[in-house]
Symmetry: C2
């Protein structure tokens, strides 16, 4: 997805929120702000929003000398999610449609996003968990289940720390021997890294790899060749969260995007309301599967 | 008031909202955005926010070739305000404290601000009118009334088109022969100009002058010498709205700031909640009047 003009004021606000979280030094705040404004004035809008996010958070780490500024917040959100996990797992087990229930809860976990709000909003998480059982699911659950049962190599692109505990509920409903979870190569915002998967008990369940990149999304050109190889070899990809949607929505692979639409730009791009629970198959796969609406749409400019 | 870092993302958003109102040409939107980002990256934060507003709206006028892009919206808000006027005037006349009632309604009119939202939000205006009768008034009404009755030359710095109809209710409660209303010298956003005062029936009531500037506030160095002379000669100044507060709050004059606090930065600066009805005398005048709290505060850094 390209960067829309209205993403730009949001980047600037996010940069300011983030740097304030990391340091009280107002000179650093101002220096970051000026550098971000200068970078944004020259940015290539055909790049996806996470490309700018990557640049912002590299700058914050450089200016503050902190390699993992969200570490404490990530650990806290993991602890909170692990406390909720047994009850949520029981809810999945009690459900007549456990795969859908687990998917809905994985979407609820997607609110643990410190790019959108520079803190861990625990009440919003509880609200999202309740909302997940009743809100409409915007997507084709049958296609997801069928693709899942036919796939041989499934790559699950995780999104955030804490959220990965919610992903675990969904992973447990999948053929775990065929699943690999991929995380970010380096800390960026509260995005999930290898360390966070360990705290969430993921490596005991499925294989875990990292993508070699510090972008808050999956910019394929920025990922390691090992990751690229795994990506190419997968016959089903589950991509979690806005950052993965923004960086992969035009890629020619069979990708299921699983997310909560948290901003108006994404919601417009997806044709849904802000807050919607989204399970969206990539256009490429829908065209390949003969979805006639998609064949008609395929030539249009999108937004 | 200086520009705070959090004003910057708001400027960028406002610039985008404004240019979209004026033209559908996306190349113009992008060009404006890039120019604003570049300007903001180098801006002097000791300048007040209206200095940046002036720059943004000059650029919009230059890029679109429209000298008064908000003309239609201003005329519409004036018509709506004039429709409300007889009922509101009756409310003032029926009040046991007509000066305060008129002041409260003048504050309600301050929501007609297309810098904050790039449209005329009529429901918000009706809400503000209702709110004006019951919400607490944050200010010293007695000092205002006493200063008003003792003043010989009163300068009323108006803010926006449409809002000036609400100001008329307050002007009618003042010694009109001593009052001069000053408006912006040139169109900027929906700020009031001579033409808007005519539509609102102000010149038949009090003298009207303009300040010679196209800033959305009163940047004294940018105003005409005629206006500066009138400003210096006045012994009471009523300054309406955020832009006038932001540009004059540190000036050594007896100024009563009359506004609705519409953004978190202003609210923090004023020490109030967003949405508060504000009647605030300039610190200079409070110190001169022997307000001991102010004498203690006078050396502090403010925010």
């Amino acid at each position: 997805m390209q960067t829309y003009l209205e993403c730009v004021p949001c980047f600037v606000r996010q940069a300011l929120d983030s740097v304030r979280l990391v340091t009280d030094d107002e000179e650093v705040h101002e220096r970051l702000l000026r550098e971000i404004l200068r970078a944004a004035s020259e940015m290539d809008l055909w790049q996806s929003p996470p490309a700018m996010g990557q640049r912002i958070h590299r700058l914050i780490r450089r200016l503050t000398g902190q390699s993992d500024p969200y570490r404490e917040l990530k650990d806290h959100s993991t602890r909170v999610a692990l406390e909720l996990y047994p009850k949520l797992r029981a809810r999945v087990h009690a459900s007549s449609r456990p795969l859908e229930t687990a998917l809905r809860l994985a979407i609820a976990g997607n609110v643990i996003d410190m790019g959108v709000k520079a803190h861990f909003d625990e009440p919003a998480l509880h609200e999202a968990i309740e909302d997940a059982s009743s809100a409409p699911l915007d997507g084709d659950m049958r296609a997801f289940a069928e693709t899942l049962s036919g796939a041989r190599r499934i790559l699950y692109l995780a999104d955030n720390a804490g959220e990965i505990v919610f992903d675990r509920l969904l992973l447990e409903q999948m053929p775990v021997e065929k699943v690999t979870v991929a995380v970010r190569g380096f800390p960026v915002i509260n995005d999930v890294t290898i360390a966070d998967t360990q705290a969430a008990g993921i490596p005991g369940l499925v294989e875990v790899i990292d993508n070699g990149s510090d972008a808050p999304g999956t910019i394929l050109d920025d990922c390691s060749s090992e990751f690229r190889h795994r990506f190419d070899a997968a016959d089903m990809i589950v991509a979690k969260g806005q950052g993965n949607y923004e960086t992969l929505n035009e890629v020619e692979k069979d990708i299921f995007f699983v997310l909560k639409a948290k901003c108006p730009v994404i919601a417009r791009d997806l044709g849904c309301r802000v807050g919607s629970l989204i399970l969206r198959r990539s256009r490429h796969a829908r065209v390949a599967a003969g979805d006639t609406n998609e064949i008609e749409d395929a030539g249009s400019a999108g937004l």
